[in-house]
C-alpha cells in the first residue's frame, strides 16, 4: 500500500499521540478515583507521582533519607547505605510508603476537613502538594535521577518492520509507550475487577454514590478514604515509574498533573472510562495539532492546546464526555 508522505507522518503522529494519551490517562485515573470516593479534587496527584518515583529511586540505590539534613550535624557525613535493592522489592517497599502516606494524610488532614466546602479541600491538597514537593527534595536531594527498573527503551523494532512492510515507511514508536499502554490496560482491568467483585470495592462504589447512605449501612468512611488514597498512591507510583523512565525523575515530573487536568475535564471528573478516552483524545489531538498547525504559529502548542480543546468542548457539554449529568435545584 502506498500512501502520501504527509498522511504517513500524520498517522505516525496520531499513533504516538494515542500512546502518550495513555500516559496522561494514567495520571488522570488517580484524580478520578479520589474525586469519586471523597469528592476531593486532589491537586497533589502529580506530586505524589514525583514523590513515589523519588522514593523508588532512593530505595533502589540505597540512599540515606534526609542525608542533607543529617549532614548538617557537625562531624557527620553520610551518603548512602552502600547497597542496592532489586527493582521489584523496591517497588513493593515504595508501595508500602505510599500506603503509610495515605494513612497519615487521612489522620492529619482529611479527618479534620470533613464537611468543608470543596474549594477548601482543594486548597488543602495544594498545600499538600507543596509539602510533598519539599519533603521529596529534602529526603532524597533535588538532583535529576534516572529511573532504571528494567523497562525497555528506545525504538520498537517490531513496529518499524511491520509498518515498513505495509507502507514502505517505518514508524518511530518508543517501546516504553507500548509497555505503558499494556500496564495501563492491566491496571484499569484490575481496578474494574476490584470495584465490581470485592467487598471493599462495593463499599467504595457505595461511598462514591452517596456518603450518608453508605455511612448508614455501616461502611467506615475513614477506612474507605485510606483505601482510596492508597490506591491513588499506587496509581501515582505506576505513573511515576512510567514518566520517570521516560524523562528522568525531577521536579518537572510533578507537572504531569497539569497535563491530566484537561483530560479530566474532557472525560468528566467522575468516570474511569472517561479518563481513558479523554487521555486518548487529548494525546492524539495534541500531536496532530502540533503536526499541522504548530509550524505555522511557532510551535510548542502542546502547552495549551489540551486546555483550549477541553474548554471548547465543555462549552457544549459542561459535565464532560462521561460525567454525571449536572442537575441543579434551588
Amino acid at each position: 500500500m502506498v500512501l502520501p508522505d504527509q498522511v504517513l507522518y500524520a498517522m505516525e503522529a496520531a499513533l504516538n499521540g494515542l500512546l502518550s494519551g495513555v500516559m496522561y490517562a494514567l495520571v488522570a485515573l488517580g484524580f478520578v478515583l479520589i474525586f469519586k470516593a471523597s469528592g476531593v479534587f486532589n491537586y497533589a496527584q502529580g506530586v505524589m507521582a514525583l514523590f513515589a518515583a523519588l522514593t523508588l529511586v532512593g530505595i533502589q540505590q540505597g540512599q540515606v533519607p534526609f542525608a542533607d539534613v543529617i549532614n548538617l550535624i557537625p562531624g557527620v557525613e553520610v551518603h548512602g547505605f552502600g547497597w542496592t535493592v532489586p527493582a521489584l522489592l523496591a517497588i513493593v517497599l515504595t508501595g508500602l510508603v505510599m500506603i503509610g502516606m495515605a494513612l497519615i494524610i487521612e489522620a492529619l488532614i482529611l479527618k479534620h476537613l470533613v464537611n468543608q466546602p470543596p474549594i477548601i479541600l482543594f486548597m488543602a491538597t495544594i498545600g499538600l502538594a507543596y509539602f510533598l514537593e519539599g519533603l521529596g527534595d529534602t529526603m532524597w536531594g533535588a538532583d535529576i535521577k534516572t529511573m532504571d527498573v528494567g523497562l525497555p527503551q528506545g525504538m520498537s523494532g517490531t513496529i518499524d518492520t511491520v509498518t515498513n512492510a505495509w507502507f514502505g515507511y517505518g514508524f518511530y514508536v518508543d517501546q516504553l509507550n507500548i509497555v505503558a499502554t499494556v500496564v495501563a490496560a492491566v491496571l484499569v482491568a484490575l481496578l474494574m475487577l476490584f470495584s465490581q467483585y470485592s467487598k471493599q470495592g462495593r463499599a467504595l462504589r457505595a461511598v462514591a454514590d452517596d456518603h450518608q447512605a453508605a455511612l448508614s449501612v455501616g461502611i467506615s468512611l475513614r477506612f474507605i478514604w485510606v483505601l482510596v488514597w492508597s490506591i491513588a498512591g499506587f496509581v501515582a507510583l505506576v505513573a511515576g515509574i512510567m514518566w520517570g523512565a521516560r524523562s528522568g525523575v525531577q521536579f518537572s515530573l510533578s507537572l504531569i498533573a497539569l497535563k491530566a487536568l484537561p483530560v479530566l475535564m474532557l472525560g468528566g471528573f467522575t468516570s474511569i472510562p472517561g479518563a481513558i478516552v479523554g487521555g486518548l483524545i487529548i494525546g492524539v489531538g495534541e500531536q496532530l495539532f502540533e503536526f499541522w498547525v504548530g509550524p505555522l504559529v511557532g510551535g510548542a502548542t502542546e502547552n495549551w492546546f489540551a486546555y483550549v480543546l477541553a474548554l471548547v468542548f465543555l462549552v457544549f457539554r459542561p459535565q464532560g464526555l462521561f460525567g454525571e449529568k449536572i442537575i441543579e435545584r434551588v
Partner: protein
C-alpha cells in the same frame, strides 16, 4: 474600654453607613494611612522596600482583584498569572508606543486591556461551573503565557525575548528604570492600592457587589429573583481582571523592571495569589491585605532564620521553606477555614466586650 460603638451617635444616613462605624477603627485606619504616606517613605531603605513593601502592595492589588472574582462572585479562577502577564505586556507596549504620555495612564490602560481579555475568558463561566471552570481558566493561563513567549510583536522583537522597562517619570521623579529611589516606586504602588481598595470596598457593598454575592451563594436562585447572571459574572470577571492587570503592570514596571513571561507569570503566581485570598479570607477586603502580607513576609522570614542566622545551605532552606509553606496552609485551613479576616472579626467582637465579657 475604647473599642465600642456606645456613645458614638450617628445623626445622618451617610454617617450610619460608613465603612468604619466604630471610632477606634476609623482612627486606626487614618493612622495606617498616615504611617503609609508620611512616615514610611522617609524611613524605608532599599532592602525593605524591594523585599517586602513593594511586593506586598502589588500582591494586595492582585489579591483584591481575585477576591472580587472568587470571594465575592464565587467563580474559581486559576488564570491570575496569565492576566498579570497581560497587564505587564500591555503596559510595556503602551509605554514604548507612546513614551510621552504619563506612565500612570499606561498602567490604567493596561488594566483596561486586561479587563477586556478577562471578559473574553469569562464567557465560558456562563456554561461551566465549579472545578470545571477552574480548569478552564487554566486555558487562559497557559495560552496567554505561550502567546507572549512566541509572538515577537509583544516583546518588540527584542533578542532575549524579555521585556524591560525604560525609565519613566511622574512629576519629574523617576519611578521606573534603574535610577529609582526606593520611596518613589513605593509611593506609586501605595497610591494605586489605596484608590483601588477604596473602589473595591464601595463596589462590593453596593448593588453590584450584592448581585455578585447572590450569584456566589446560588446562581439559579439569584437568577430567579432577577439578577442577570450574564451581566453579574462578566462584570466580576472584568473588574477582577482590571485589578489583576494593574497588579501585573506594576509588578513588571515598578518591581521587576525586566520580565521573562514564563518565569514571572507562570502557574505558581496564580496559586500564590489564590493562597493569599484563602489564607486571608474569601470575600473580605481586609483579608486580601492580610493574606498578601502573610505570603510576602513568610518566605523572607524563613530565609532570615534558616539561612542568615542558622547558616543552612540555600537549596536545603528552599526545600524546607516549601514544606513549611505547605504545612502552614494546611494548618490554617484546618484551624480557621475562613482565614485571617475571620480571626480579626472574632478578635474585634471580643474587644467590644472587653474587659467585661459577661
Amino acid at each position: 474600654m475604647f473599642y465600642r460603638e456606645a456613645g458614638d451617635f450617628k445623626t445622618s444616613y451617610p454617617d450610619d453607613s460608613q465603612t468604619f462605624p466604630i471610632r477606634f477603627d476609623r482612627l486606626g485606619y487614618y493612622a495606617v494611612l498616615l504611617l503609609g504616606f508620611v512616615v514610611l517613605p522617609f524611613v524605608l531603605n532599599d532592602y525593605w522596600t524591594n523585599a517586602v513593601f513593594i511586593p506586598f502592595l502589588i500582591y494586595a492589588i492582585a489579591a483584591l482583584g481575585l477576591n472580587i472574582l472568587v470571594g465575592y462572585c464565587g467563580q474559581l479562577s486559576l488564570g491570575t498569572g496569565g492576566f498579570m502577564a497581560v497587564g505587564a505586556y500591555a503596559c510595556y507596549k503602551l509605554t514604548t508606543a507612546f513614551p510621552d504620555i504619563n506612565i500612570v495612564f499606561h498602567i490604567l490602560g493596561a488594566g483596561i486591556i486586561t479587563a477586556g481579555v478577562g471578559l473574553l475568558f469569562g464567557l465560558p463561566s456562563l456554561r461551566i461551573k465549579g472545578f470545571y471552570l477552574a480548569v478552564a481558566t487554566l486555558a487562559a493561563q497557559f495560552f496567554l503565557v505561550w502567546l507572549f513567549n512566541r509572538v515577537p510583536w509583544f516583546y518588540n522583537y527584542s533578542a532575549s525575548g524579555q521585556i524591560s522597562m525604560p525609565e519613566r517619570t511622574v512629576f519629574g521623579i523617576a519611578v521606573t528604570g534603574a535610577q529609582v529611589a526606593p520611596w518613589a516606586g513605593y509611593m506609586v504602588c501605595l497610591v494605586f492600592v489605596v484608590v483601588l481598595a477604596w473602589m473595591a470596598r464601595n463596589l462590593t457593598r453596593g448593588a453590584t457587589g450584592r448581585k455578585w454575592m447572590a450569584i456566589r451563594d446560588m446562581d439559579i436562585a439569584a437568577e430567579i429573583i432577577g439578577v442577570n447572571p450574564l451581566r453579574a459574572k462578566l462584570t466580576a470577571f472584568a473588574v477582577s481582571s482590571f485589578y489583576v492587570g494593574i497588579a501585573g503592570a506594576l509588578f513588571f514596571s515598578v518591581y521587576l523592571g525586566a520580565v521573562e513571561v514564563g518565569e514571572a507569570f507562570g502557574i505558581e503566581k496564580s496559586f500564590a495569589v489564590l493562597f493569599m485570598i484563602i489564607i486571608g479570607g474569601l470575600g473580605s477586603i481586609f483579608g486580601s491585605f492580610a493574606g498578601a502580607a502573610f505570603m510576602v513576609v513568610l518566605p523572607v522570614l524563613i530565609k532570615l532564620v534558616l539561612v542568615d542566622s542558622w547558616g543552612w545551605p540555600t537549596d536545603l532552606a528552599a526545600h524546607i521553606r516549601l514544606m513549611i509553606v505547605g504545612a502552614l496552609i494546611i494548618i490554617f485551613l484546618i484551624a480557621e477555614p475562613h482565614g485571617m479576616a475571620q480571626l480579626w472579626r472574632v478578635t474585634k467582637d471580643k474587644l467590644r466586650l472587653w474587659p467585661f465579657p459577661h
